[in-house]
């Protein structure tokens, strides 16, 4: 399996009067052919802007990709002309979005919207395109596809609209599918159907997929490798199993700890109501990131040097990269100095204790 997409030091900044927002601040990762990559992070971490940058859909004022290279099949997407980029979009790289109602044109039939892509990229005539569109609709599991071609988006339910979006994205057999929160707006049962559909299409076509989401459960079940983003940088890059078994970065640990676990005892042995593990504080102001590691103000393991310099993304174990001073060799010798406020809030809870608790719960 070769490398399909290779991103190096991508930086996308938003220039507003008086300040700049560093939405994507130096990220590098690769996507292999046929691989499913998940990008997880909370709002403000830059994951959506990453996908927008890949597709070069960043709104030009005020945003700008100021640095980096996006190598797709040997070409740097940031260096080709807009016309060449247009032949890439929808053709080699497709995207599906979160809100199917707003990403489908409400005044055109769905048949026309699918056909449009076919006519543009594969040069089919309208009739040929419509026939192909019908077969695409059945491929995504919509019955009576001939009839459905004439329907408008508002006549379909959320799940069906999302299937139409997938059909449009699949029409030109892309090599990479970027799915930006594709199921957040859908009901649970519909979500399951859509995710299974995407997986089926992936298997059939050996298509690479980038899942962008904040839902860790989706990540756990549908991806092979995960990138965790925080405040515009990658903090952890790891295969999915290792991430869930042993998250390395304190932010990943905190994130995984905050999810309520099913079927766990509600009260401790002392009868106290159990609380969730939380990451204190909130995202720092994107206008003024503090010096040093961006997570330091919320990290229970922050050391003195975390406040002074930003760590690099280094490879730790096989295939796992992390951006944290805890994993650099010099660190072992430095004393641990954490911000006392943060320590007090944690009251001694550690990830190890959390893992133990979960294992106990799973046994019941």
């Amino acid at each position: 399996m070769g490398t399909l997409l290779d991103i190096q030091e991508l930086r996308t900044y938003f220039f507003l009067p008086g300040y700049a927002v560093r939405a994507v601040d130096g990220i590098s990762f690769t996507v292999q052919e046929g691989e499913t990559l998940g990008i997880v992070g909370e709002s403000g971490c830059g994951k959506s802007q990453t996908s927008m940058s890949i597709m070069r859909l960043v709104p030009d004022p005020p945003g700008k990709i100021i640095q980096g290279s996006i190598n797709f099949e040997g070409r740097d997407l940031l260096k080709i002309s807009e016309e060449e980029m247009r032949s890439v979009r929808g053709n080699d790289i497709s995207m599906i979005f979160q809100e199917p109602m707003t990403s489908l044109n409400p005044v055109l039939t769905i048949g026309f919207q699918i056909a449009e892509v076919l006519m543009l990229h594969r040069g089919l005539s309208l009739l040929e395109a419509q026939k192909e569109a019908a077969s695409l609709l059945s491929m995504v599991g919509i019955s009576d596809s001939e009839e459905r071609l004439k329907e408008y988006p508002f006549q379909l339910s959320g799940g069906l609209r999302q299937r139409v979006m997938i059909a449009i994205a699949m029409a030109c057999q892309p090599k990479l599918l970027i799915a930006d929160e594709p199921t957040t707006a859908l009901d649970v049962t519909i979500q399951a159907q859509i995710l299974r559909l995407i997986r089926k299409l992936q298997d059939e076509r050996n298509m690479a997929t980038m899942f962008i989401t904040h839902d860790l459960a989706v990540i756990a079940n549908f991806t092979q490798r995960v990138i965790v983003m925080y405040a515009g940088v990658i903090v952890e890059d790891s295969p999915v199993l290792s991430l869930f078994r042993k998250p390395l970065h304190p932010y990943s640990q905190g994130l995984l700890g905050s999810i309520p676990v099913l079927n766990e005892a509600k009260r401790t042995d002392q009868g106290q109501r159990r609380h969730l593990y939380t990451i204190p504080g909130s995202l720092p102001d994107p206008k003024r990131f503090p010096k040093g590691c961006r997570f330091a103000s919320r990290c229970p393991k922050a050391m003195k040097q975390c406040w002074e310099a930003e760590p690099e993304l280094v490879e730790v174990e096989d295939g796992r990269k992390v951006r944290c001073f805890l994993y650099s060799p010099e660190v072992r010798t430095n004393p641990t100095v954490s911000s006392p406020e943060v320590l007090a809030q944690f009251g001694g809870k550690t990830w190890k204790a959390e893992v133990q608790r979960r294992e106990k719960a799973a046994k019941q």
Binding site: A220, N221, F244
Partner: protein, 384 residues
């Protein structure tokens, strides 16, 4: 205080809420959307009842009916119900409902005189008036305006969208203090002190009091909403998807906050959400809804450990678990949720149920206890 006391604080009976909708853009036909189709449940002091279901199941509508933002078409919502009143009203209501049923039958095809019809109507109206009269001290739906205003102090609500639930033109202090000021509970210095205390309890700095909502993040705004809901020291708080719009880590903070406040203030929560793991975490008991009807009620551990209703089973199996090694048996449901405007006959779930039988298409199942203590509404529940 570890176990919730078994005092019934809210009793909902036979709640119905229908909305008239237009069939199409130019059609004059008026269809009826049965958002809530005869739902009954109780809530006990100090507990959290979780209400789950997918979109269109009616859970939000129930929440708004309890907070008296909608006027239901039928049913009773008792706040601090008294057994004797409930029984009296029940008798009257059931009698009336059977007469209404009769009326419907005769309209469809029966032989009755015009006078007979009018008599029936009059009897029905009389029964309604009698029942309302008996119920009006505790029933939120038949209370007069003044009693209702008093009752509102006891039932408060937290909304889903933190961006839309705060008036952008008012400062936080006024937003939180509006309730107590309206009821004259506190004024001036006392009010300020109370607002500051609330802000502290929900984890916001005192400086927040003079700011405008747009200066805060989503999680902080939700805390302001919680403070506002607590300002009148209610007994029951309806939480309508309070964490759905928040990030995972903020979600955890707010959930923890709700749990602490429940302990400190002795609150009862009606927690409405679609994220099953969140609801399971915070609720003592849960009720699963489908197309306006309750299909299963149980306490949370049992519901998850041993779901009995076929819909609950497939719902739970569809929830992805945040563990890559967890293998769930995938019970896939076919098709989409049917439209609540034209629900299937009998059991509304029968179109997607793999255990359906003849009777399921004709007769609506009643929510009743089975041998495990769950309450389910199913003619043919799958075996354990």
């Amino acid at each position: 205080m570890n176990q919730p006391q078994k005092e019934t604080i809210l009793k909902v009976q036979r709640l119905k809420k229908y909305f008239p909708v237009k069939a199409g853009a130019f059609s004059t036909k008026n269809l009826i959307l049965k958002a809530v189709d005869e739902v009954s449940f109780d809530m006990y002091r100090g507990e959290t009842l979780g209400l789950v279901g997918e979109s269109g199941c009616g859970k939000t509508t129930i929440g708004r009916c309890v907070a008296r933002l909608y006027q239901p078409d039928e049913g009773r919502i008792y706040l601090h119900p008294q057994q004797s009143i409930v029984e009296t009203v029940d008798l009257l209501d059931l009698e009336r409902l059977s007469l209404v049923e009769e009326l419907e039958q005769t309209r469809i095809g029966g032989v009755v005189t015009k006078k007979g019809l009018a008599d029936l109507q009059k009897k029905i109206t009389n029964l309604k008036t009698q029942a309302d009269e008996a119920a009006k001290t505790t029933d939120l739906l038949s209370m007069d305006t003044r009693a209702l205003k008093e009752a509102r102090k006891s039932v408060q609500m937290i909304f889903q969208d933190p961006w839309a639930s705060l008036n952008p033109h008012m400062i936080v202090k006024d937003i939180i203090g509006e309730g107590p000021k309206e009821y004259g509970i506190q004024r001036g210095m006392n009010l300020d002190r109370w607002v500051m205390e609330l802000l502290d309890r929900v984890g916001l700095p005192a400086a927040a009091a003079n700011r405008y909502p747009h200066e805060f993040s989503g999680g902080q705004r939700q805390r302001i909403c919680i403070a506002r809901a607590l300002a009148l020291t209610p007994q029951l708080v309806v939480c309508d998807e309070p964490v759905s719009a928040l990030d995972v880590s903020i979600q955890a903070q707010v959930l923890n906050l709700l749990i602490s406040l429940q302990e400190d203030f002795g609150l009862t929560f009606l927690f409405i959400a679609h994220d099953l793991s969140v609801v399971e975490f915070i609720s003592d008991r849960m009720m699963v809804m489908y197309l306006g009807r309750a299909v299963e009620t149980s306490n949370s551990e049992q519901l998850y450990g041993n779901p009995r209703h076929p819909y609950t089973q497939s719902l739970l199996s569809a929830v992805p678990v945040a563990d890559p090694e967890y293998k769930s048996e995938e019970i896939l449901l076919e098709g989409d949720v049917p439209s609540p405007v034209n629900p299937p006959s009998g059991c509304t779930f029968h179109t997607r149920c793999r255990y359906k039988t003849e009777i399921c298409t004709q007769v609506r199942p009643i929510l009743e206890k089975d041998k495990n203590g769950h309450k389910i509404a199913c003619h043919n529940p799958p075996n354990d």
